[in-house]
């Protein structure tokens, strides 16, 4: 590594870019198309998406930090295994914490927390960034990439839950019943029971299925490329 460490501001424009780039210009899901598997699986509810996003942000940020701290000691022959051990340790910590803190959501997310280990975003950042950058910058890069992943997850989650199920944040303490058939037990803001003005409306069952997130992510990529000139291929 370079021996000279210049005096740099702790949070200058470069650090800012580390955080913001992955959210738009270099988004891990829509631009690099990584981590799509879990984006399909856990986005049926916003609450699940949010918990998953937080879990991934934690894992990427801290595995980046730890890898960067010991990067000069990791023998290059076993670096992948070393990275995997760091990721797996952190993911297990998340799993155990979730089990103790909120058992219901742990049951809901089931295997997908464990599968963060195989999420390409995490491993990709360790190989591409943390192995060659300072701990602080790696940490920011991890948070940035986790956020970039989380933002897409939450956008897809909101669309899928609202139009597929008619609720938002279902399963959490702040569940909002937006649209659906009201009855004695459940009250929706927009009532679609027979005879009401919105009775023609019904939830879109396709959006409840994982395959819909593939379309939604496709549409997000399309919109993003339309708006962001940097992403358009010149050739």
């Amino acid at each position: 590594m370079s021996g000279k460490e210049e005096k740099k501001p702790l949070f200058g424009p470069k650090e800012k870019r580390l955080l913001w780039d992955p959210i738009n210009d270099n988004n891990p899901v829509t631009v690099q198309v990584l981590g799509v598997c879990s984006a399909l699986a856990v986005t049926s509810l916003v609450y699940k998406s949010v918990v998953m996003a937080i879990a991934v942000i934690f894992v990427v940020a801290f595995s980046n930090l730890i890898t960067s701290l010991i990067r000069n000691y990791i023998p290059s022959q076993v670096r992948m295994i070393a990275q995997l051990v760091i990721i797996a340790t952190l993911v297990t910590i998340v799993e155990l914490t979730l089990k103790a803190a909120n058992y219901a959501i742990y049951k809901e997310l089931s295997v997908f927390i464990g599968l963060i280990i195989t999420n390409c975003i995490v491993m990709g950042r360790l190989e591409a960034f943390a192995m060659g950058n300072s701990p602080w910058r790696s940490f920011l890069d991890g948070i940035g990439n986790g956020l970039g992943y989380g933002v897409i997850l939450i956008i897809v989650g909101i669309i899928r839950e609202l139009f597929g199920k008619g609720t938002l944040f279902a399963g959490s303490p702040i569940q909002l019943n937006i649209i659906g058939k009201s009855n004695d037990l459940v009250h929706y803001w927009i009532d679609t029971s027979p005879g009401s003005m919105m009775s023609w409306y019904s939830n879109n069952g396709l959006l409840a299925l994982p395959v819909s997130s593939l379309f939604l992510i496709g549409i997000i990529i399309w919109v993003q490329r339309g708006k962001n000139k940097k992403l358009v291929d010149v050739s």
Binding site: S44, L45, Y73, I74, P75, S76, Q77, V78, I81, A82, V85, I86, A88, T89, T92, I93, L96, T97, K99, A100, Y103, A104, K107, G164, K165, A170, G171, N183, D184, L185, V186, S202, N203, G205, L207, A208, L209
Partner: protein
């Protein structure tokens, strides 16, 4: 390049450190996780009698749930002949019992001491569309009329089949149905697309016909297992 000795030393130290962290974490969280799992199961059982509880289930604290089970809930384990055998119903795993030959299975029975007499809560277990489904059915002291029901599933489609758990309206429809016809013959309760016999049929969920069929099969077979016990313990 690092020497082989260094690589071995590095991997051993890394493994020991992560092993220590994880086992420490596990022992710290295990008691909480165990309690969470127990409360989670008990809440599922209680939600089948939610209309009979003194206060809404969601507002009950974990300790209140455990308290109610300790003081007002009698637990029995039955064999297929309807005899009470040794054991505690909450320790019985319906998933494990379902793997045994039918004649050797054991059944959980919870008896809730409510204001309007004893309520028998029975467990049922079957197949949904994608994976296992299970539920608890509460029967009034006449052993015929359903006082409430709750369902859960392993992997039904969110927004469609998963609504057997998520939509309180579905289980609410079971209240007041009878598992016997007027002549006292067993009919069970069925989930139907179109209800023609309101005393024994329940409105299904749109888009979840196959999960509904699974629930029907589970109920027809599952409630029948308890009939010998009810026969012996007529009031």
């Amino acid at each position: 390049m690092h020497s082989t000795g260094y690589i071995i030393k590095f991997t051993v130290i890394m493994t020991i450190i992560s092993g220590l962290i994880l086992s420490g974490m596990f022992y710290a969280t295990e008691p909480i996780a165990k309690k969470n799992a127990a409360v989670f199961k008990k809440r599922a059982i209680l939600s089948s009698i939610s209309s009979l509880l003194d206060k809404p289930l969601a507002q009950m604290s974990d300790d209140e749930v455990l308290d109610l089970f300790a003081n007002k809930m009698e637990q029995k384990v039955l064999n297929m002949k309807g005899e009470v055998v040794e054991g505690k119903a909450e320790d019985l795993s319906m998933a494990a019992e379902a793997k045994l030959p039918e004649a050797e299975r054991k059944l959980p029975l919870f008896i809730y001491d409510s204001k309007d007499g004893k309520i028998n809560i029975i467990g049922v277990y079957g197949n949904g569309l994608w994976d296992k489904i299970w539920g608890y059915i509460a029967l009034k002291s006449d052993n015929k009329t359903i006082a409430g029901a709750s369902f859960d599933h392993k992997g039904e489609t969110p927004g469609l089949g998963a609504e057997i758990k998520d939509d309180p309206t579905f289980s609410y429809h079971f209240i007041g149905k009878s598992i016997m016809d007027d002549a006292g013959k067993y009919t069970s309760v069925k989930v139907m697309k179109k209800v023609t016999d309101p005393a024994h049929q329940v409105d299904g969920i749109g888009g979840a016909t196959l999960t509904g069929n699974g629930v029907t099969e589970m109920l027809v077979r599952g409630i029948k297992y308890y009939l010998p016990y009810f026969e012996k313990n007529k009031n």
